[in-house]
Amino acid sequence: MSVTSGRYEQLIQDLRAEVRPQREWIERQGLLLIVGHFLSGVAAGTWLFSLVFHFPAGLAVAYAIAALSAAAHLGFLGRPARFWKMWHARSSWIARGFVGLTLFLGGGVLYLIPIFLSASPWQSGSLIAQAGYFLALAGMILLLFYKGFVYSSSKGVPFWTSPILPALYLAYALRGGVAALLVICSFNGINLDSSALGLLELWIGISAAVMILFYLGVMSGSSPIEQYSVRELLRGRAAVSFYVGTLLVGLGVPIGIGLTGLGAPLSLGAVALVGLASVIGDFFVKYSIAKAGIYRSLTSSPHWRDKSAAVAGVPPLSVKP
């Protein structure tokens, strides 16, 4: 490969600029990571609500989604062999996520086999299945929580280092779970307690909307780099995915339909639409926030600028991001 590749040209442009967007976790194979994050959240949420609603098909789908998430993660890392290196994983949120996914996939299979395979050597309710249940549950909890912390511990990207993000991503994982159930149900013509689900969906959707607004509000009042990220989200590179994916499809459609559903029960199609839109919204919230990530700027270190400017005898300028 040559240095005239587009990626190199892009990197040079980024390194020239005072604000440098993160691209590693959004572009090229980086997109697989966002997909992986999204899928693992949906998987955990679906598993949770399938347990709550005693819905085995949902469990199977959750498991399949988790497996896809694992594949997406490995795709992001580029080489399957890296899976084995991940066994070094220890004390970081990514490591917790890896452990969570491993527990979930390992436990999940133990729990699911007797449910779906009559010839299973162990039965539902057996010790093995019970163990599987608890392992998967532990994995599920880790998967619900870890992602937000992966972002919020990224000190290089100020936009992400907010305690709101873990809560937001948890909410989205839960909502994704509900949404997946809605989709599965409507496709299978199964009528779970769709009004309860719809209400739940609405409630989480509104919470998520509130959280997003709160998040953006806090960020736009922070340092110039965070402000720049907000601008990326509202007017820049992430604006389309944010407005269309996150807001319109992800929040507007489900909440709108959900609100009309308060008066009368929703048709299966509408339920499916709510679910689908929510799932899409779940993806795009992660996509948009990842895309709006801007690295912290060195020359904006207030300390350096103030000291240098003072010595140079010029009044410090406000940072232009």
Partner: protein
Amino acid sequence: MEVVSEVTPTCGARDDVWIPSTCGLCYGTCSILAHRVDEVLIKLEGNPDSAVGKGRLCGKGVSGLMTHYDPNRVRVPLRRTNPVKGIGIDPGWKEISWDEALDEVAERLRKLRAEDPRKLFIQRTTTVTSSRTPMQVFAGAFGTPNRSSAGGGLHCGNGAHLISGIMHASWSVVPDFQYCNYAVYFGASKGHGAGHASCSNMGMAADARARGMKMVVVDPMCNFAAAKATEWVPLRVGTDAALALAMCNVMVNELGIFDAPYLRAKTNAAYLIGPDKLYMRDVASGKPLVWDSSVNEARAYDAAKPDDMALEGDFTVNGVSCRPAFQLLKTHLARFTPEWAEPITTIPAKDIRRLGTEFGHEARVGSTIVIEGVTVPYRPVAAIAFRGSQGHMNSVYNFLAVDLLNQLVGSADMAGGCLGFNPASHGHPETGRPRYIPKPGPDGLMVTGSWMAHHVPYPIREPRLPEELGMQDLFVLCQTSPFSDSADREEMWKKFELPYRPEILLNYGTNLLMSIANRETVAKSLTQFKFIVSFDLFLTESSEFADIVLPDCDYLESVDSRPNFPFIFSLPGGMGEWCWPIKQPTVKPEGEQRRSSEVLIELADRIGMREDLNAAYNAILKLEGPFRLQSDRKYSYEEVCDAELKTNFGAERGLEWFKNNGLIKWPKKPEEVYWRHFVDVRVPIYWEFLPQLGEKIAALAEPRGLKIPRHYYEPLPDWIPCPAHDDPGSDRDLFAFYYRDIIHTNSFTMENPWLDEAARLDPFSYTIAMNAETGRRKGIEDGDEVWIESRAGRRVKGIVHLTEAVHPEGLGIAACAGHWGDGMPIAKGKGVFFNDLLELDFDHVSPVNLNLDLCVKVKVTRAKGARR
């Protein structure tokens, strides 16, 4: 003397050595250590034993291996198959053998030499200093006076080197970093960029700043030196003389600050000047007269004690009323008030007055200092200039006005003052070589002890009808001439009855299409050569005009006994060490490349001029005793180097010794560094010879229809606007100028991918610096692509970088970029081709020293499509 840096011996069977040699990425020629492992160079570092670079290298130097191993280097001799020559026309290169190439070149040169050797024009790049000796020797032996250094002299040399030579006996000037307290830089970056002794100067300048040296940088742009300055003084491009003259006026006429004893003893300030602007001369001896106030009569300057010489007053000698030169200068300066200079320079008068006052006070006129037990005058102020301020039609006055600041307070080559680079050397303690000391010449004025170019700057040659194609023998104060390539060269040659026309160009590595002026004019001159042979590392835009290209070895494959000599060029100035390093091959070439030095010897042999060549080597390298070359023997260049080293440092210290040790060094003495205090020579604060010279040139030129503007030939510096200042065009409202980038050397280094990458990351290297407010006014945004257009309709394109760090009327461009050829693919399309805006003819050069005017009044418009 000490022995330094043994080559690290090989450990075991593995090839693993550090080889001392010399950098070749610019003419700074810092000493390097090349690390070779298993026949591959894996690292270049500075040689800490050397005074040249002091173990450190600039960004270019450390990147040398990316140039050395560039797969785009020329590896085999090439012959063109397409007879049509022009920009962008494929020469149809065909690979040929060395024998075939040399046969053809030698045959043509032999015929030409028999016909008229002056028809050979030799041009070499300034980047590779090691090419100087072999080329000079070859030209001398061949019998052609026609040598040039592409853009080198036209852009910097004709003003800076001429006046540094006449006033400081050196190629360039620098503050005495160890003792200077107040330095004013006029369009110079010494210690903050490329060039002479660049790496050593960077460390020494940093020491000086850390020590508290105040640095005032006068420059339209705030980069490099200005970025580190205590004070940046932005001025309108090319108006340096107005500022310097006003500062002189403040010192002399407002504050009465000047160093009278220095002026009396070390300059021609006391020489009596008659109403004809000429010296009053002693009737018997013809020597200039001074007024001896102890006896109240005029005496020859060397008959009176300096203390008794009158600097001021009106006198009558033999019935002729006359005044000391200083009196004339003082009166002359009075008109240059800060208030007068303000509208010219855009610098507020109060700042000009303050700068003049600070300079005068900081000079501590009258003080002395003891350095290593030797008492010398202490004048810790320096006004230095280089390419920027002298790159105009008023080149001479601009530079001279700046140097007047030093001369007035007596800081020229005194402790803490403005130093020439090593104008005096007493030689190695064991051999007394190389020894050179400035000496008095005609009228007691200084003749340099050491020089680089065709002829020493003083005494001035007698102008004559030109026999040199650059007409340097008519315009005798120029070092390099535009007329080898100018648009009006044929017209000039006709006018001046040049008895021949150049037919063959022997080019060494220059890319003159990019380095001189607009390419159209230069290309036209190139097509007029009947035959061009070019030594090249890469196929440049200019080598596309060659008939035969000879692949050269680069600096890591070549040998040179004097990469850093003459010392007036790139050995750091000030106290420290004399240091004589060599350049030696560190690896063998990967292709069929041959060292140009050896090829020239081979060519000389084939031409049948071996004896002349050896004689020229003997003369130019000053070979002596048993080390003189015998006329009939064929020597390799390594043998020549060996002879020079042995001549200078004794039979036991030949090339082999130097290959092992890398260099020889010995301490400098205060009597050498501050030589001016100890040597009885004078420099002209009043250029009496200039009006006379103007008349002599005019006497030849004006009957032939070339007007010589006499106001450039006055004995005292004046302010004359550049053509750009007088350009009336209302939509041309900006002064485009160029500067030398810290990570690039001429047009050469853009091909180095590390340097190219660094330049791409730099906000300025490849962009056009425009003042942010100016941009806003014009509706131009940062990153916009624009056209810059000159009065003559020449246009170049580039990306704008809006910045607060440039004068609102200025447009700053890093020089010599904008390659378009395919021979240097990394460099292609990078940066802005500033030189394409420059006109190249008599109307755009200094009529005194032929320095090109390098500022252009331009119109800026957004290019279509246009936003990055």
